[in-house]
Symmetry: C2
Subunit: 362 residues, 2 copies
C-alpha cells in the first residue's frame, strides 16, 4: 500500500531538509531529585494557593485527554493527559501538563498502580522546560487537597479518623494528616486485603506511639467511630450507606466510587474542587446525579446540592459547613492544575539548587 | 490561608511514608538520536500502515487536551496532548502520547514555531518507556500523510507543484515529495515573507538542478499552473478562491485555514484522515460546514460531501477520485496516532541500537 525502496528507508531527503535550529534543552528530575526538592517546598501552601487562584478565576483548566485499553492480562489500563495553568498575580504564571498512567494489574507485578510524568512549559515559548517523575507529586497533591479540605471544612481538630483502602495514597495521606492534625489519637484502617492494612498499622504504630491504630474487616465497622473517613480505594461500585456515617462526620471521597447515591444524596453539605469538572463527567457518581437533576450544582435550601468549593472556603466566599447531626462529603474530582502548580514549585527549586540533569533536546 | 510551619516546609512526613519501589527507567532521545533512528525507518510505510489500521478500526484515538494562552508579547500559545494507540495485528500494539506545543511568536526569537515531546507507553503496565524530541517527527508525520495522500488520490505522477507557506513544514514536504515523485519538474513557492520563499527556492535549486523553481507573490499566481497545491501556512482566515484552482488539480489543505468555504464546497472530491475528528471540531472550516449541513459527512451524489478517507483509499475501500474539470481537496485533521506509530518505530530502533540515554525515573 505504500512504496518501499532502499532510498526511502534511509530518508536521505530528511537530513538536508532541516535548517540547523537553536539548541534547546530540558531539565530531567527523577524521583530522588523530586524528593530532594520537595524537602524545601511547603506543598500544602502551594496546593492551597492554586485552589484559591482557581476559585478566583486565575487558572486555565482544559478538558483532559483520556486513553484507555485492556492489557494482555485483561486489566484496565489508561493514560490521562491533564494540561493546565495557574496565573498567580505578580508572576508570569505556571504552565504544564500531568501525564498520569495506570494499570490495575501493576501491583501484581510489584509496581505502583499509577506512574507518570510532570511537564513544565515556558510561559513565552510554550516549550517543554522540565520532565519530572510525577507519581510522588500526584500522591502528595492528592493528600494535600485532603488535608486542606479537612481544615477548610473545620475538622482540623479531629481525634478519630478512618482510612478505607491502604495503598500508597493511604500512606501519604496518613503521614501528612498526622503531621497537621495534632489531636489525632485513634486511627482505624480497613482494606479488602487485611494484611496490607495490618502492615501499614504496624509501621505507623512504631512511628506514632501516642496514636492508637486498629484494623477492622468492614468499612461499616471502620466508620462507626470516625469523625473523618477517607476513601482511598480503586472501587467502581458504591457501597457506603448513609446509616454507617457517624453524626457530624466528614467523608472525603478521594477515590470517587465508594459512596452510594444515597450517601451522596443524604449529605448535609457537599464540597467539591471544581463544579464544571464534576458536571462534565457523568461517568462519576456525583456528576451523574447532577446530570439527572437529583443534586443541584449550586447551593440550595432543602435540596441536595453542591454547597461549596474548597477554593471558596479558602478565600472566605463560603463558610465552613454545619453538619449538625448530618454529615459533610468532600468529593474532589482531582485537578491537574494543582499538580502543575507543584511541578512549577519543584522546577524553581531544582533550578535554584541545580538538581537533576540538563538534557539536549534539539 | 494555609498554615505554614518550619515542620511542614521540610515535609518530614513524606520521606517515611513511601515504600521503596522497584526501580523504573525511561529512554530519552534528543533530536540527534531521533534523526539517527529515522535513517533506518521507512516513515511513509509506518504512517501508511497506521492510516490503514485506523480505517480498519485497529486504533484508539481519544479527544485531545488543548491548553491555550496569550504570552507576554501577545502571541497565541498552546499545548496539545494527543494520546493514542495503534493495535496492529500480530503485535502487542503501540501506545503513546504526543505533546506538541507552539507559540506564534517563536520564529521572532529564532525558534521553530512548534516543539514538543513524544511519549511511548508500555502496553502492559502503561508506564512511560520513552521520551523523545517530537518536532522532527511531527513534521515528518505531516509530510508523510501528504505524500501518501498525493499517491492515494492518483497524483504521484505530478509535474507541477506549488507550496504556499515556506517554513519548516515546506522544507520537509518538498524534500519528501521530491524523493517520491520523480516526475516533478516545476515547483512554485509563495510566502508572505518573500525572502523566506526565495531562500528555500535557492537551496532546493542547488540540490535539484533538474527541477525549475520559481517564487511568486500571490497564492493565485502560485496555483495557476499547479497540478498539486500544498497549503502550509499559519493562516486563520480562508482566502483561496475556487476559480484560482487549475482544473483537475489536488489541493492539500494541511494548515486547514487557507481554503474559503466556497473552495471546500466546490471540490469534486473531499478526502480526510478521520471523519469523526473533523465533525467534532467545528472551529475548523470543514467541521463547521459539516455541522451546518452544507457538506455531508458521507459521500453523496450531487451534493458537497466527504467522499473518502486516506485509509479507505489505501485499503481499497474507496477508489481514487476522478476530478474531471473539477478538483480534489485533501483536508487532513492531523492524527496523533500517526505520531504515536512513529514514536513506537523510533523506540524499537533505539532499543536495537542502544541509542539515547537511559534515565532513572524511580
Amino acid at each position: 500500500m505504500t512504496r518501499k525502496t532502499g532510498e526511502t528507508v534511509e530518508n536521505p531527503w530528511l537530513a538536508e531538509a532541516l535548517t540547523r535550529p537553536l539548541p534547546e534543552s530540558v531539565r530531567f528530575l527523577g524521583r530522588a531529585d523530586v524528593m530532594a526538592c520537595l524537602a524545601r517546598i511547603d506543598v500544602v501552601a502551594v496546593v492551597g494557593d492554586a485552589l484559591a487562584n482557581h476559585h478566583l478565576g486565575r487558572t486555565i483548566l482544559p478538558g483532559e485527554a483520556y486513553l484507555s485499553w485492556t492489557n494482555e492480562v485483561g486489566a484496565y489500563s489508561r493514560s490521562i493527559g491533564m494540561p493546565g495553568a495557574v496565573l498567580a498575580e505578580g508572576t508570569e504564571g505556571v504552565y504544564g501538563m500531568k501525564v498520569i498512567n495506570a494499570s490495575v494489574s501493576n501491583p501484581e507485578f510489584g509496581l505502583e498502580r499509577a506512574g507518570g510524568l510532570g511537564l513544565c512549559f515556558d510561559a513565552r515559548t510554550a516549550r517543554v522546560t522540565a520532565v519530572m517523575e510525577a507519581g510522588v507529586l500526584s500522591a502528595v497533591r492528592t493528600a494535600a487537597v485532603t488535608a486542606i479540605a479537612v481544615e477548610a471544612t473545620g475538622y482540623r481538630g479531629v481525634h478519630s479518623l478512618t482510612v478505607v483502602g491502604c495503598g500508597t495514597q493511604a500512606r501519604v495521606h496518613l503521614a501528612l494528616l498526622l503531621a497537621r492534625c495534632p489531636g489525632l489519637n485513634r486511627i482505624t484502617l480497613c482494606d479488602v486485603r487485611r494484611p496490607v492494612a495490618a502492615r501499614l498499622a504496624g509501621e505507623l504504630a512504631q512511628r506514632h506511639p501516642e496514636v492508637s491504630f486498629s484494623v477492622v474487616d468492614t468499612p461499616e465497622e471502620a466508620m462507626a467511630d470516625a469523625e473523618v473517613a477517607l476513601f482511598l480505594t480503586t472501587v467502581a461500585q458504591g457501597y457506603v450507606r448513609p446509616e454507617w456515617v457517624r453524626p457530624g462526620a466528614l467523608l472525603v471521597n478521594v477515590s470517587l466510587g465508594d459512596l452510594t447515591d444515597e450517601a451522596l444524596l443524604d449529605a448535609r453539605a457537599l464540597v467539591v474542587d471544581d463544579i464544571e469538572m464534576i458536571i462534565e463527567n457523568p461517568r462519576r457518581p456525583l456528576g451523574r446525579l447532577v446530570g439527572e437533576g437529583r443534586i443541584a450544582a449550586q447551593a440550595q435550601e432543602n435540596q441536595p446540592s453542591i454547597t461549596a468549593t474548597i477554593g471558596g472556603l479558602l478565600v472566605g466566599d463560603a463558610s465552613a459547613p454545619q453538619p449538625g447531626a448530618g454529615y459533610v462529603v468532600v468529593n474532589p474530582f482531582g485537578l491537574g492544575i494543582l499538580d502543575v502548580a507543584l511541578f512549577g514549585a519543584v522546577l524553581r527549586q531544582a533550578a535554584d539548587t541545580a538538581a537533576g540533569q540538563i538534557l539536549e533536546l534539539v
